[in-house]
């Protein structure tokens, strides 16, 4: 869209707003950054998903608020074939897409929209595949949907059948993710005819709880309640994102009453927030893990005993106090405790420098010196990697292991840490995409992920462990999957490819009068349930 038409859109959106009656309830969210666009499919950041996928769109299925459980959304129900290869979705009827000044839907949501949503991402020949130069569908390909989905078939207007190449239990969780938000095919056709295809990304039309009104780049996004929403209608009339990148400024805005809720407070501000009588602080364990990955292909780290000994030398509580300011819990498993199949029976390696030293000697390792890689950026799962590396360095010094701390620019860090024969252990972490244990274990620790382009930075390939994951992925029975993942965690602990460090806590500060906000374990910010008390 040209600069001029952006203005026209803003102007006409204004006219629409002005015509509407005065709105009583406006909810302001001080968001942390600008969305990259409003079509959720080509992007990967949570910031973009909050502004597009969660506000404007729906998926076939969705995560029940506050959980990672799947519940019906645009699909009212679904059947899975015996062999786990066919998923038939029965679509909700009478669901209306939004309208804006240039587009009014003539029909309700149907199977055509579902097929359009998936096929434009799946097929490079689809006319809407690269509808803006440079558009790619990274989430679709990194979740391996391209390898997984064999075909999509329209059974009738309200039924869609997906056929998979192999049975895959996490499939349902995948289609609840924002990147497969259902877009309107009719809207796409209208844009095609008008020659303004880029508006799919600039002026989104969805079925979600809020209708997009206007975006002023890097400043404000405005939405209006979708009066025809198929689900429970939002309680607020207008939703505004006030883009505020600095955490301290966000807090000042919250305190001044310029917004009602903010994400990602600075850890140092938490005490201040708790003490403020006008604010409240919602906290919840995050769906994440921070870890130190050894290179299990290089001696002496190919010996599990050595890795275990090093893990025992680490004072994790001190690390949590210093690096996370206490706002985290010690990690013993690679998946967080809020995730289903978390194996609480697994015991963490005891902090015991003396025993660690003895174990190293027993393994025939002396005068060990190693590198520890500290990532150069802050992430919720690792707020200060340099500090963490320094603490580990001093812990290891006590058992006679010399540590050199290294760091690279973030892109280089990600690349070099996946290079074969890498020296040293790498600090990194992960935040779950869809709440499925497979999204942690297979992505980060399977044999397949140890190949170039994967994310298994321990290069750890344990056939038994990988087999359990593969079985769990193909199993359709939930209890069976739980059992398989619990077993896998036992093997992980015995083999110790990582030192599991911490699961950090997520905090959401908000004004006292905000009600109904439900924190998502996935770190999404959705406002269809919020309200403002008088």
């Amino acid at each position: 869209m040209s600069f001029f038409s952006t203005r026209m859109l803003a102007a006409s959106a204004f006219a629409l707003m002005a015509a509407a009656p005065l709105h009583a309830k406006t909810f302001v969210y001080c968001s942390e950054g600008s969305p990259e666009g409003f079509d959720a499919a080509p992007y990967t950041s949570g910031t973009t998903f909050d502004a597009s996928g969660h506000a404007v769109y729906n998926r076939l299925v969705q995560f029940k608020p506050g959980t990672t459980e799947i519940e019906p959304a645009l699909a009212e129900s679904w059947d899975v074939s015996e062999d786990g290869l066919e998923y038939t979705f029965h679509l909700r009827q009478g669901v209306k897409f939004h309208s804006n000044d240039k587009f009014t839907p003539s029909r309700d949501f149907s199977a055509d929209d579902v097929i359009f949503t998936f096929e434009r991402q799946a097929s490079a020949d689809h006319p809407w595949h690269e509808y803006i130069p440079g558009v790619t569908y990274e989430y679709y390909s990194s979740m391996e949907m391209d390898k997984l989905i064999k075909s999509i078939e329209k059974v009738d207007d309200h039924t869609v059948k997906f056929t998979l190449n192999q049975p895959e239990a996490p499939f349902l969780a995948n289609v609840a993710m924002p990147f497969v938000s259902i877009v309107s095919k009719e809207y796409a056709d209208a844009l095609e005819a008008a020659g303004t295809r880029e508006d799919l990304n600039n002026a989104p039309i969805g079925t979600g709880p809020f209708r997009f009104v206007a975006y002023q780049k890097d400043a404000v996004i405005r939405y209006q309640k979708n009066a025809d929403y198929w689900g429970e209608a939002p309680k607020i009339d207008d939703l505004v994102f006030a883009i505020t990148p600095d955490a301290s400024v966000r807090l000042q805005k919250l305190k001044a009453g310029e917004c009602h809720l903010m994400p990602y407070p600075a850890p140092a501000d938490l005490e201040d927030i708790r003490a403020d009588p006008n604010l409240k602080l919602d906290e919840q364990p995050g769906l994440n893990v921070g870890y130190l990955a050894y290179n299990t292909t290089v001696a002496p780290f190919d010996n599990p005993q050595v890795r275990k000994a090093l893990n025992m030398a680490m004072d994790k509580q001190a690390l949590i106090d210093a690096v996370y300011q206490g706002n985290a819990e010690i990690a013993k498993n690679p998946i967080p405790p809020t995730m289903w199949s978390y194996n609480d029976a697994v015991e963490d390696d005891k902090f015991d420098p003396e025993a660690a030293k003895a174990m190293l000697e027993e393994a025939g390792v002396s005068d060990l010196s190693m590198e520890i890689w500290a990532m150069p950026v802050q992430r919720p799962y690792m707020p200060n990697a340099r500090r963490a590396a320094e603490l580990i360095q001093s812990d290891f010094a006590k058992i006679g292991v010399k540590v050199e701390i290294v760091s690279y620019e973030w892109g280089e860090y990600l690349k070099k840490s996946m290079e074969e024969g890498r020296k040293g252990a790498v600090i990194l972490g992960w935040t779950g995409d869809n709440g499925d244990p497979d999204n942690f274990l297979t992505v980060l620790l399977s044999c397949a992920a140890a190949a170039p382009g994967g994310a298994n930075r321990a290069f750890w390939c344990n056939e038994e462990f990988s087999d359990l994951l593969a079985k769990a992925k193909a199993a359709s029975d939930h209890d069976e999957r739980v059992k398989l993942y619990e077993e896998a965690q036992v093997i992980f602990k015995e083999q110790a490819p990582w030192a599991t460090l911490a699961h950090s806590t997520q905090y959401v500060p908000m004004a006292k009068n905000v009600t109904g906000f439900v924190q998502s374990p996935l770190g999404d910010y959705a406002f269809d349930t919020v309200d403002l008390a008088e």
Binding site: S141, D218, Q252
Partner: protein, 335 residues
């Protein structure tokens, strides 16, 4: 005069080519690349990487990419952002008015306060006013902008509640952007209170952005004044029996203004640099923050074309400054 302008304009051409080279080269010299940064912790397979690189044209030798870039530039195509996929020019135009508005107000504040303070400090050299204002200028010049901005927010918005924390206008007001300048658009909107809201949002960021230029201008004015006050023509003017006010305003200040104007012109570059921090603190949707974000994401097209646009503007402003010398100093005009 015409030849003077033409000559200056011709100088711009090699400078612009140099800037394209520098901008194009430097962002590529930085380690890290956009595809890897987009993939993040998850990583990207070598095949997928090659596919994306080919789609973006980054598989070709760098000189070919450069030639391709120059070719597109000559056709007026500045490229599309790798992150938002939108044309760089559209993004620039959407954000630029906010930066200009902030910078203009800041430079006006800096000049309107800085010049008189410098003049008075020079005339009353050694007085308490001189001492205090020059110490203040030194402090202002050394002020870490980020800290200073946050301090003002906490004091004036947090504790006293006099000014809004951040943004360009209260979210209550929602009107079409006609010029992109909030002060003008708010007047055009006809909404009662909109203009006042826009002004109140501008106060803190423009004061923060004006701090360093104000200090520089005050000090520069003072030393320029001191210099001309010792000149023969000032002594002559005094000897003629002119009033002190006339000696200072006409004979001294006009001559002292030449280096001051150069300084003000050079501050445009400083304002652009200061805007990066100021815009980040005050959530001001301008080009400074846009550039920083693009560099950290290795958004090559935005960095190389954005830098080119900013450089062109700084050069044009400097050209205008050069031309104003002519108005003040006849010797340059007649050369």
């Amino acid at each position: 005069m015409f030849r003077f302008i033409l000559k200056k304009l011709l100088y711009l051409v090699p400078t612009m080519i140099g800037i394209t080279l520098v901008a194009f080269g430097f962002i590529r010299l930085l380690p890290g690349d956009p595809v890897l940064l987009m993939a993040g912790e998850r990583g990207v397979s070598p095949e997928r990487y090659a596919q994306i690189a080919a789609q973006l044209g980054y598989d070709k030798p760098v000189w070919q990419q450069y030639v391709h870039y120059l070719g597109n530039l000559l056709q007026g195509d500045l490229g599309n952002s790798l992150v938002t996929k939108k044309p760089v020019l559209d993004e620039f135009l959407a954000l630029f008015p906010a930066t200009v508005e902030l910078a203009l107000v800041a430079i006006i504040i800096a000049t309107v306060i800085g010049v008189p303070v410098g003049v008075v400090a020079a005339i009353k050299r050694g007085s308490w006013f001189d001492q205090i204002s020059m110490t203040g200028a030194l402090v202002g010049f050394s002020m870490p902008i980020f800290w200073w901005g946050l301090l003002l927010i906490i004091l004036f918005s947090g504790v006293l509640g006099w000014t809004p924390v951040s943004g360009r206008i209260s979210l209550m007001y929602f009107f079409p952007q006609v010029t992109g300048f909030m002060l003008i658009d708010s007047l055009l909107s006809g909404d009662e209170g909109a203009f006042a809201s826009a002004v109140s949002h501008l106060i803190l960021p423009s004061v923060v952005l004006a701090t360093i230029p104000l200090a520089v201008i005050a000090r520069q004015t003072r030393s320029a004044m001191l210099e001309v006050m010792g000149e023969d023509y000032v002594r002559t003017a005094r000897a003629k029996g002119l009033s002190p006010r006339r000696v200072i305003a006409v004979h001294a200040l006009r001559n002292a203004m030449i280096p001051v104007i150069t300084t003000i012109g050079l501050q445009v570059g400083v304002l652009m640099a200061g805007a990066i921090l100021t815009e980040t603190i005050f959530s001001w949707p301008g080009i400074g923050k846009w550039m920083i974000d693009s560099i950290s994401r290795r958004d090559y097209p935005v960095v190389q074309s954005g830098l080119l646009l900013i450089a062109a503007i700084v050069m044009i402003v400097n050209l205008i400054v050069d031309l104003t010398y002519g108005l003040i100093n006849p010797r340059i005009r007649h050369k």
